[in-house]
């Protein structure tokens, strides 16, 4: 069974493999990445499931995330406490969804959550404005922001309720095939 590792039990690894899109090797690599963020905090033995939580500051400083305009939202969405502090499970979960293997629907679901800044299950105008400001460094005028948001809602809102539901969003994602490759963080 390859090289022996003592970080996880075989059952733990099975569970990780069954619940994420990663192979054993990738899981171990991700564990190393996780541990590298704070070697003094993360033990090398996870067999007794220690309750370790890395603060958002550490997670957000990863090279994969540190320049991402949505890094805080990503960390918030995937962390259990909703504040970006991540356990190893959250960490694996995050990169599992952002991996190449994750199906479109799953990616769309989490992308929706990431864009849904106020957690009301709808992308309303304020969410879109926040997204827009994050993506354009606040350099658009108010008028332009408003127009873009209106345009987005106009294009993607199927049921005309003035905001985008998950269904609207998924419907849009289906028609935007690039999404699968762009909503993807290589590890």
């Amino acid at each position: 069974m390859g090289n022996k590792q003592t970080i996880f039990t075989a059952q733990q690894l099975d569970a990780y493999q069954d619940c994420t899109f990663f192979t054993r090797k990738e899981i171990l690599r991700l564990f190393d990445r996780y541990r590298d963020l704070a070697p003094q905090l993360v033990p090398l033995d996870y067999t007794d499931q220690p309750d370790v939580r890395l603060p958002y500051e550490l997670i957000g400083s990863m090279p994969e995330l540190k320049d991402n305009p949505f890094r805080q939202r990503i960390a918030e969405v995937f962390s259990e406490d909703g504040e970006g502090n991540m356990t190893l499970d959250d960490f694996l979960d995050m990169f599992s969804v952002l991996s190449e293997m994750a199906p479109r629907d799953l990616k769309a679901y989490y992308a929706f959550k990431i864009y849904d800044f106020n957690n009301d299950d709808f992308l309303c105008k304020s969410d879109l404005e926040k997204t827009l400001n994050k993506l354009t460094r606040n350099e658009l005028t108010e008028d332009e922001v408003r127009m873009v948001c209106e345009k987005v809602i106009d294009e993607a809102d199927l049921d005309n309720d003035g905001r985008l539901s998950l269904e609207d969003f998924q419907h849009m994602i289906v028609r935007a095939p690039d999404f699968l490759s762009t909503f993807h963080i290589r590890i």
């Binding site: 059952q11 499970d89 993506l135 658009l140 332009e144 199927l158 935007a176 690039d178 762009t182």
Partner: protein, 979 residues
């Protein structure tokens, strides 16, 4: 090696062996298990898991739940916010189920509830927190049961696809495994134990294989770096390069394994004529020394090898079949990847999503470079601004301007096509010259260096054309004004493809027509020509990246700042790759080892391009739709490139006579005759008659191909019709979504207005109540009377048991009905005539949801109407369950108060309803009469209101009035007795 050990990570900490089963086992378990466990789901999933959603029967009651259900309730972790739990359908329904999507819809429907109106919604349904938890439990258990019924592979896929956090997935997985092992334990025997551990080991082995494959994955780090700096669009070039490299490695393995190795085994040393030695220039020209080796067609023998002790190996057959098999496999792989790419990326793609796409889908999460991120933000801003101004531009374009545009298009297209044809013609004349020169040198048979170098002239010119003309084409975009930048890219691609294919077509024509009839060992000559083309093309690609990227970078940064740092032109580079691959495919017959050169070429190219990219280029300004471009590139690789190469090779094999003096097919009329000879041989052996039959009746018969193409045509037609139908269906479904959205908006609006009016009323009521409390002391008596009546109502309401029995998740339907019934009874028993205006469904068994909605509406209307009338604050108007009796109580109270006040006759105060001024009269009786009159008026108002609403209840009006009158008389009598 792996045995199932107890001690899974279970929330409850129970020891449960990890149980996996193969797919057959899973389904058989599901079908053979007693139905009691899982009434519908297990059996149905086991029977084949069809897509139809069938509402399932009731869940098994808690009492007989097996031990796996006894998990920690608090741990069940749907992170659903409870406020949005308004519209959940009764939990006994199983959501429509396909393995991968079930849970998604599960989540989707519950997360995206219809009325996100906050906590009030929860109370409105009378659902307590327990109810919700129960319901979540139920859903979870349904999910678990579905998962249990699946095969192992499906289950893992479904669990992975669940949109939940890892802990929840693990929890669900633990439950599923526990349930599995629970079921297993009943039929515990050696076989199942063995198969369990075997399948576990098998699965782990498979996972290890995947890991190993990932280790072998080429250039992972480089890919990440490129993607991080330049985004997915540029990365697609490198992916394409890698993909082509895989093709070539495969073709090399096949050719080397089946053609070259046997040849080398039987003839380890090539027969090189004396006087020919390796000079070094051969690496460029491919001629001379190489032409006598296994590099080319000419180097292979035509003998059936292996007479002495070695097994027989027919080189002719091997050569033919290997090339044929490779071509077929290549074609299949191309068609497959093209079709799947089309399906995934092109057909569904919609150009109507401009802004939405740019804002929500175009951000490249894989970009990790700070500079690139900054640039991307900038570009996105510019694009958004452009797209905002685009509409205006389109509208303003006048007719003359448009005509001018069309004229420019016509001119550029004519020019580009003319250039392509001109290039083709010049290449043809060059070929003629080359032929005469080669013939002379062949006559002289003196291989001087200069003459060898002269062979490079033709490939040099061809590659030069390929390098320069596309640059010229790219100048066109300065004068053309396509409305869509994508059209621009398409135009450039089409022009380049026309150019490259016309040159290749001319070359092929020259090889087939002239070379084949002129030279003795013509296949090797063609092979050499292709070799030279491949090599020189490689040199020119290197030069191209030097001039195209390095020089323009230097110019852009040092000399002319306005040009700026160049971008990496994905389209041009990919077309270069496609051209190179076409050469390799054509050459596969003439030079079986050409893939080696191709592999080396692509390998070097990868690093070269990577260095050139990181040193010279900047991230692309436009976030192009890389996925669609990729599809187009694969399509181009298939259609002109692969199909062209295939038809060239097929023509050679089927019609051209192979050369007499060299190669495996010497002495045959055509290459294909090798098969004919083989079949004649087989004909003598009885055991292989069927092969001969197949050969004669299938491969050689026209009628077979005729029939096949006929059938294919029919299928194409049918599928086309189906596609048309689907398109229609899509339009209809889209319309339906829009309509449902309108419905939703309408209902929401109604609800909101109702809630608003309620809130307004509450404010008013508070004011009124304050004023009232300042008022008379004579209210005291009225209050007393009210109290008594309240008690009465309290009794009756408790006897009716108004509140919903909470905790019965199944009873939602019946409770709604019960409430409706109760309300009706109430209205009849207590003389709240106003309540009679509320319609109730006459149908005793309406759909649960409609009953609920109607009950809700009725209740709310009752509330608002009551409040309209009396401006009295209900005790708890937030909660309609309580509000129902309380509202009625208040109706009663207020009316009594009004009446008693009038009967007291001590105070004259302004009544609540200013539209009904009460004149001061001496006689108490008169006042009673008046009060009754007023009440009647109000009642008639009430009846008008519901009549205008959606539920007219005209039939009940008369009787209700009479009842109200009677009831009021009773009350009055009571009061009369008291006073």
């Amino acid at each position: 090696m792996v045995t199932p050990t107890p001690g899974m990570m279970e929330p409850g900490g129970r020891g449960v062996g990890p149980t996996f089963s193969s797919s057959q086992e899973g389904s058989s378990t599901a079908t053979t298990m007693p139905r009691r466990e899982c009434p519908g789901a297990g059996g149905r999933r086991g029977a084949g898991g069809d897509r139809d959603s069938i509402p399932m029967g009731l869940l098994p009651p808690r009492s007989e739940s097996p031990r796996w259900q006894q998990h920690d309730l608090n741990h069940s972790g749907y992170q659903i916010d409870q406020a949005t739990h308004y519209d959940t359908t009764p939990p006994v329904r199983l959501p429509s189920a396909t393995a991968g999507h079930v849970s998604m819809r599960f989540r989707g429907s519950r997360k995206m509830s219809l009325f996100p109106v906050g906590e009030a919604a929860l109370g409105n349904l009378g659902l307590s927190e327990d109810d919700i938890r129960n319901e979540m439990e139920n859903e979870e258990q349904i999910l678990v049961k579905e998962l249990v019924a699946m095969s192992t592979r499906d289950r893992i896929k479904a669990i992975r696809d669940l949109p939940m956090s890892f802990d929840d997935k693990k929890h669900i997985r633990g439950q599923v495994l526990a349930l599995k092992s629970f079921k297993k334990s009943r039929q515990l025997n050696c076989f199942s134990d063995c198969s369990t551990s075997f399948s576990l080991a098998f699965r782990r082995c498979g996972a290890n294989m995947t890991s190993a494959r990932q280790t072998l994955e080429l250039w992972r780090g480089t890919m990440k770096e490129v993607g991080g700096k330049f985004g997915t669009g540029v990365l697609s070039y490198f992916k394409f390069l890698k993909w082509l490299l895989m093709f070539n490695i495969f073709s090399f393995l096949v050719n080397f394994g089946f053609i070259t190795i046997p040849q080398l085994i039987y003839h380890p040393t090539p027969d090189i004529p004396t006087g020919v030695s390796f000079k070094g220039l051969e690496i460029l020209t491919g001629a001379g020394y190489f032409s006598h080796t296994v590099m080319y067609y000419g180097g292979y023998s035509n003998k059936t090898q292996g007479t002495g002790g070695w097994p027989e190996y027919n080189m002719q057959l091997a050569y033919f079949l290997t090339i044929a098999a490779y071509m077929v496999l290549c074609g299949a792989a191309l068609i497959y990847s093209m079709a799947s790419s089309f399906r995934k990326k092109y057909v569904l793609a919609d150009s109507g999503l401009g802004g939405a796409w740019q804002l929500l889908c175009s951000w490249d999460f894989s970009v990790t470079n700070e500079r690139a991120v900054r640039q991307r933000k900038n570009n996105l801003r510019i694009q958004l601004k452009e797209s905002l101004s685009e509409k205006v531009q389109v509208a303003l374009l006048p007719l003359t301007e448009r005509l001018k545009h069309y004229g420019v298009f016509l001119g550029t297209w004519l020019l580009s096509t003319g250039m392509a044809l001109g290039c083709g013609a010049s290449v043809y004349f060059l070929c003629q010259y080359d032929k005469s020169r080669t013939r002379q040198s062949a006559d002289k048979a003196s291989g001087s260096l200069l003459e060898e170098a002269a062979t490079l002239l033709l490939p040099f010119v061809v590659s030069l054309i390929n390098l320069v003309v596309p640059l010229f084409y790219s100048l066109f975009k300065k004068i053309e004004h396509y409305s869509n930048p994508r059209m621009q890219v398409y135009a450039i691609i089409v022009r380049n493809v026309i150019l490259k294919m016309s040159i290749l077509g001319i070359l092929c024509y020259y090889w087939m027509k002239d070379v084949a009839n002129t030279f003795s060992c013509w296949e090797s000559i063609v092979g050499q020509a292709l070799y030279r083309l491949v090599i020189v093309d490689f040199l020119f690609i290197m030069l191209g990246s030097f001039f195209g990227e390095f020089l323009s970078n230097v110019i852009g940064t040092k000399c002319i700042q306005s040009l700026g740092v160049p971008e990496f032109d994905v389209a041009r580079n990919v077309l270069d790759l496609i051209y190179a691959q076409t050469l390799a495919w054509i050459g596969i017959y003439f030079s079986p080892l050409l893939p080696v050169i191709q592999i080396i070429k692509f390998f070097i190219l990868f690093y070269l391009k990577k260095v050139s990219l990181t040193q010279n280029c900047q991230p692309p300004r436009r976030a192009g739709r890389a996925a669609q471009m990729q599809t187009i590139f694969i399509a181009i690789l298939f259609f002109p490139s692969f199909v062209g190469a295939l038809s060239m090779v097929a023509y050679t094999v089927w019609t051209l006579p192979p050369s007499d003096k060299c190669g495996p097919f010497r002495g045959l009329n055509t290459t294909f005759s090798a098969i004919q000879i083989w079949m004649d041989d087989l004909n003598r052996v009885d055991a292989f008659q069927w092969t001969v039959w197949i050969y004669q009746h299938v491969i050689r018969s026209e009628i077979f191909y005729f029939l096949v193409s006929l059938i294919i045509l029919v299928f194409i037609y049918i599928f086309r019709q189906i596609t048309q139908g689907r398109k229609l269906l899509i339009i209809l479904l889209r319309q339906q979504i829009v309509n449902e959205g309108k419905d939703k908006a309408f209902l929401l609006e109604k609800l909101q207005t109702l809630q608003k009016s309620k809130q307004n009323k509450q404010k008013n009521k508070k004011q009124v109540r304050k004023r009232q409390e300042k008022e008379s002391t004579g209210m005291l008596q009225a209050l007393l009377a009210r109290q008594r009546l309240e008690q009465e109502h309290g009794d009756s309401s408790s006897s009716f048991g108004v509140p919903m029995p909470s905790g019965h998740s199944v009873s939602t339907t019946s409770s709604a009905m019960m409430q409706a019934m109760l309300a009706k009874q109430y209205a009849e028993d207590q003389d709240v005539a106003s309540y009679r205006g509320v319609p109730f469904p006459a149908d005793p068994a309406p759909a649960s949801s409609s009953a609920l909605i109607q009950a809700m509406q009725a209740r709310q209307r009752a509330e608002s109407q009551n409040e309209d009338e009396f401006y009295r604050a209900p005790v708890q108007s937030q909660n309609p369950v309580n509000a129902l009796p309380s509202a009625m109580i208040q109706v009663m109270q207020a009316r009594q108060r009004a009446e008693s006040e009038q009967e007291e006759d001590e105070f004259y105060r302004e009544p609540v309803h200013s539209e009904h001024p009460v004149s001061s009269m001496s006689s108490a009786m008169m006042q009673v009469m008046q009060a009754r009159q007023r009440a009647e008026e109000e009642e008639s108002e009430f009846y008008r209101a519901p009549a205008s609403s959606q539920h007219p209840d005209a039939s009940g009006t008369g009787s209700a009035l009479i009842q109200a009158m009677l009831a009021r008389q009773q009350v009055e009598e009571e009061y009369g007795d008291r006073y």
